[in-house]
Amino acid sequence: MTAQVGRSLPQLESEAKTSGSAKYIADLTLPRMLHGAVLQSPHAHARILGYDLREALAQPGVQAIVTGDDVQDAHRMGAFIKDEHAIAKGKVRYVGEAVAAVAAETEAIARHAARLIRVDYAELPAVLTPEAALAPGAPVIHEEFSSFFKVFDTGTDGNLCSRTSFATGDIARGWAESDRIFENHFETQPQAHLSLEPCGALADVDASGAVTLWSANQSVFRVQANVCESLGLPMARLRCLTPMIGAGFGNKMEPHVQPIVVLLALKARRPVKMILTREQDFEMVRARHPFKIRVKTGVKKDGTLVAREVDVLLDGGAFADDSPGVLGYSLLMSCGPYRIPHAHCHGRLAYTNRMRFGAMRGFGVPQVNFATESQLDEIADALGMDPLDLRRKNILREGDSWFGGQPLLSNGLAECIERVRAASDWSSPRARTAPSGKRRALGMSCAGHIGGLLSTGAIVRLLEDGTVALSTGAVDIGQGSNTVLTQMCAEALKVPASSVRINSPDTDGSPYNWGTTASRITFMTGRSVLGAAGEVERKIRQQAAEIFECAAEDIELLPGGKAALKGVPGKAVSFAEVSARAHWAFGGPIVGTHSWVFDQATVDPKRAVVVGLPFPRIGIFSFNATVVEVEVDDATGKTSVLRAWSACDVGRAINPRMVEGQIEGGFVQGMGYALVEELVWDGARLANPTLMDYKIPTFVEAPAEMHPIIVESHDPVGPYGAKSVGEIGINGVASAIANAVAAATGARIRGLPLTAERVLRATLGPGA
């Protein structure tokens, strides 16, 4: 029997997904189901004076309408700051915010009726930028901010939602010891997740008033918490389930329409399904934070990094959502994977009257990485050094600690750099020969990511026939966690993967799992799977020991689901026999469980001073080195990526093909972020909430050559040595591309995206 770990097993859902039979939220129906539609706010900031629902309610087929009057003021949800109601109450805070919702017999009736709801508003002045929001006398978006529950309180007020500061060493000394100091400003744009599947939910209410809720989600437990907190429901009255999920990238980790759909179902006392249109998915859920970043770096003339200061300003939009976490994460990562003895990284997060910004793959790191890795290239050029050599000179080595003091237990970054250097035939200068009318060059970047966080568990049960049931609560959003966790469980028990059945996350039966985010499932849930499988193994051995009348230490598991007496051929029992004995005779059915919360401190208080760190224990570090070859068109400024090499230290690739998929997918999503994607506001409203106007890379833009390179540093605490890969592949893409464009054109652009227009103007110089 082949080993399961390290095997590129095809996704367990392959038949379902390739046959069209996989059921996503929009594919589910229930008898007597109603359809929901929302009415969105036309104002960026306004008090809601009242509603007139009469005309809407009078429409044939309308069964229920809900507004802020149906929720209580005290019931608020929010990942870090509980500032958000299930539906706008008292005020609307961004154009597009849900202000009312209708459940009706058909979607068309619901949409039509929603348009007939009259809402009486008193407009308030709106603030559309963090600067405006933080200016003295700015209109306050959350007047009761001081009374909101906060996971961590940084003593902010007004529209200042949160702040964070990390300091290590002595920054003044750092500047003094630097031979040269570089300071630059950078700006990044909001990016839409654009999962192919729009957000949606389906809620049903039983005769007792208990609710069952399916939704497109990255965490059934976050859905449960958010719905219960915003509706004042005890968690025991809400069961959350998971259909097939059509990707998330962070958009589905925190709530979208689930609270509203439950509210409608409770009022209508019938099942209600609501699926957002693509436009609504753009306008009313969340997007990647735009950042303003100031980076100041001090170096010795030999390229040794001495000091770093980073100052960021985030637009959080109208609700805090995951923003305080993004702020903290981005600053924790803003020294990059380098030894910098003196650093002070700080930032602020402001509320504005725009759609909330929230978790998106990379969680603030693509933004700061763009700034810091762009500047490192500028520093290399100024010092006359090869940018790759500058990185190598300064990278963290095994045994070093990350900024803040957490020791790195594994670190494959040096190998990542070496692998991309060799594969790309890297050399400096980076310009390459190009056809007439084009310019080509290589560019590189390095990145780190921290993955893990919070808690997870696993339950492994031996079924009566000796096959295995695995329950983890981990939502597979398409990245393949079901398959990977199954592989790990199968490996641990030495059974084929086909003998293990993993169930779908269900708050009624699954152990708590914070969610599929922060690149955490392989590491966090994998550890739990091994822990639970380990307990099952001990119980199997105990049963076998009783059967063979020996000590449990004398029993070993053999491939294929057998427990055998060591060194005695022929003395083996099958898992089925063991399980039968357990079920019917002695010991009870075999169950193993494991539950844990991430336990490595991120900050060593002897080495760093921190204010506003989202969590004291966050995760483990993965690394990346990226090289790209770009081609810039002289006439238009349009940039193409011809070839890309991305080496990621993932600890251990449990399923190598899936790891490649994450590297490749992360690359192209990062390429979109670098070159074409941008959510654009026209005043207070989103100007391009459609796929006609917001573009992502297609088959044609994907590089002609993509080389995903897996580096395995075998982390001592990772399950089978595994760390993470979900986000590490996107973090360094924009900076590598920006560095290549700079090498090709001589023009350094410090804003994203690098549209053709921006590149052409930069290439033509001032006055263009």
Binding site: E13, G20, A108, S195, L196, G478, T690, A702
Partner: protein, 162 residues
């Protein structure tokens, strides 16, 4: 409520009597009228490609086709294509190559790829990119899809697929 008109559509080789309002798209009728949920609604504007089905042998956007306009046409969905040797070869290589992650774009992708291989048994990498350029994927970065289509084409040419 809008007027509904009776019509008979030919879906996967079978006549299906149904009703549709003037504005009902083929996509809505397939998914809600006939329970064929393989075709997906990703944008309802014809851009993402997740709704792609074959109409009279050509890949078309079911979200931009009106149900009432399809009365005399041959509509084949991913559910119907599961009988096709070409599609089966693609389903196999998609699975073995890792040409999908979340799978939401996959039915439309398979319809478009089936149509390509039916027209061109030996496409180049560039042919595949151009033929599928109207199908968006956000998860894979496209590379493994190209690999899977080329592999299926090779399998079909070698006669190894049954």
């Amino acid at each position: 409520m809008a007027d509904r008109f009776a019509t008979t559509l030919k879906i996967n080789g079978q006549p299906q009597a149904t009703t549709a309002a003037l504005e009902d798209t083929l996509l809505t009728t397939l998914r809600e009228g006939l329970g064929l949920t393989g075709a997906k609604r990703g944008c309802n504007q014809g851009v993402c490609g997740a709704c792609t089905v074959l109409v009279d042998g050509r890949p078309m956007r079911s979200c931009l086709s009106l149900a009432l306009g399809c009365a005399d046409k041959d509509v084949v969905t991913i559910e119907g294509l599961s009988e096709s040797r070409v599609t089966q070869a693609l389903q196999k290589t998609f699975a073995s190559t890792g040409a999908f992650q979340c799978g939401f774009c996959t039915p439309g992708m398979l319809v478009a790829a089936t149509s390509l291989l039916m027209r061109n048994a030996a496409p180049s990498d560039g042919d595949v990119r151009k033929a599928l350029s109207g199908q968006l994927c956000r998860c894979t970065g496209y590379f493994k899809i190209i690999e899977a289509v080329l592999a299926a084409a090779a399998e079909l040419r070698s006669g190894r697929s049954t």
